[in-house]
């Protein structure tokens, strides 16, 4: 019995070692492109592709990080992206949580039909109606303005749906008690619902922030002038224009990732939990 137990234990630890080797191997595949990006961003163009790869450049070229700002108006692109990200996230939080409260906790005529319309549009890919949307926006004179992206992305059916899912879990007794105490719906929303919904608000904030920061197709369609472009467009422009300056391209790419890396690392636990829960609830 004792011998068998020891054998089993040995087998378990061999399995464990094998598992770790596998996981570390996969991790390497997942981060290798980013490490290569980081390492190349400190190299001269002629050394980027040198093989075998020199992971830590012996003679790091910091100037790559200084040069990119002079080659393209990168700071403008970054500021534009921050502006859009912040405005859209705030508007989406406000408009979604407000509407979600109505759908979750209030009774009014036509509520269920309206909600069905919201949910139905989530299932339709944006790419299906992006052309008519563009024509409409052109009619409003909003093409080549930041306003176009703001109004298109500030009202999201997905945001309403997600916030509603969360509000549905808040017990009605709590709200009824507040109603008996004489609070009107607006105070209930602001004094009870909003403070309770911090996790939902944080989730929507992360999703919206990452979406707007990384959005490519929206800005590609709507923004033409250089002074309006976002970081993703700027990066792509940079790649097209300096297609052989690999060191510079990698430095610019690294810069574009930094805000997302910071957000992700500081909120990763929360981020991952929210993906898991939205995934399960569908």
């Amino acid at each position: 019995m004792g011998k068998l137990y020891v054998k089993q234990k040995q087998k378990d630890s061999i399995n464990k070692i094998f598992l770790y080797i596998l996981l570390i191997g996969i991790s390497f595949t997942m981060i290798m492109p980013f490490l290569w990006m980081l390492s190349s961003s400190f190299k001269l163009d002629k050394d980027v592709f040198r093989y075998p790869i020199e992971w830590i450049p012996s003679n790091p070229h910091w100037e790559n990080y200084a040069l990119i700002w002079t080659r393209i108006p990168y700071l403008t692109f970054i500021l534009n992206t921050f502006k859009l990200t912040i405005i859209i996230t705030l508007l989406q939080l406000a408009s979604s949580s407000f509407a979600a409260y109505a759908f979750a906790k209030l009774k009014f005529k036509g509520r269920d039909i309206l909600f069905l319309a919201y949910v139905g549009t989530i299932a339709i890919p944006w790419q299906v109606y992006m052309v008519p949307q563009f024509i409409m926006m052109r009619g409003f004179g909003l093409v080549n303005t930041h306003m176009a992206l703001i109004v298109l992305q500030a009202f999201s059916a997905f945001g309403v749906f997600m916030m509603r899912q969360f509000y549905m879990n808040v017990p009605n007794e709590l709200l009824n008690a507040a109603r008996i105490d004489g609070l009107n719906e607006y105070s209930i929303y602001s004094k009870i619902m909003l403070p309770l919904s911090t996790p939902a608000i944080a989730t929507l904030t992360i999703f919206t922030y990452v979406f707007v920061w990384n959005d490519f197709m929206g800005p590609l369609i709507y923004l033409n002038s250089e002074k309006l472009k976002t970081i993703q467009l700027g990066l792509r422009m940079f790649i097209a224009e300096y297609s052989a300056d690999y060191g510079l391209i990698m430095a610019a790419s690294m810069i574009s990732l930094i805000p997302v890396i910071i957000l992700f690392i500081s909120l990763q636990k929360f981020f991952i939990e929210s993906v898991a829960s939205t995934g399960i609830k569908g």
């Binding site: 290569w36 409260y101 890919p125 197709m217 790419s253």
Partner: protein, 296 residues
Amino acid sequence: MTIKQKKELRSNLVGYSFLLPNFIGFLIFTFFPIIFSLLLGFTSWDGVNEIKFVGLNNFIHMAKDETFRISTFNTVYYTLGTVPLTLVCSLGLAVLLNSKIRGRNIFRTIFFFPYVASLVAVAVVWNMIFHPTMGPINSILSKIGIENLPGWTASTKWAMPTVILASIWKGMGYYMIIYLAALQGIPKYLYEVAELDGASKWKQFWHITRPMLTPATFFVSMMLTISCFKVFDLIFVMTNGGPGRATNVLVYHIYNQAFIHFKYGYSSAIALVLFAIVLIVTLIQFRMEKKWVSYM
């Protein structure tokens, strides 16, 4: 007006007042464009001259449009290449990470990161890694003696598999998280009982884990399929639809027809076809759901 009616009217108005800001935006910027796209698909319009109603002409034209045919094929190719492999990889990762190991959260974070990283940055680094003449992948391949080096995004044969590889790499962490959550929902006693009965790990996986995960698999495969049908950024940045038309997908074709050639009517018609395909595939998946998805 009775008191009851008054009360009802009041509660209706309160409800509408909460909904209004979002609803106006939703109506103008989402709902109208969707209706508009249904009409636009039956017209011919360059954005300047008058809109002409052309009936089914756009759809007839599509049958003769070789690029449309190729891009439909490519979209299906991309989807069939991406969905099953992502499913398998993300499930595999989730099972590996579900065992008791140190540093689980670090692995989880690393696997998930490509999903939040910007696509443009990711695409450019992939293009460099798979550079046909100078990239490290081909350097390694030639070192180990492979002679006919794949041309990756520069070759019509390899371009799509390269894009598929990049998309699996980017997406699998996200779906892994959904699988992990589902795995944690499986009651432990099922495994304990199986263990007592002497079931091997593989048997436990096949007879407990796999069936218990079918709702998650259903959800993941739906989300993945829809996201594959609307692929654009990855293609636009990595290959520009090329070489030739080797990676030209439907959304890329819609984009080109509308924003490069200003054929708004025709591109809307293609968008309608895209929508029909997504709808049909989703309906089929829902139909099949009863056959293989088991809920507790």
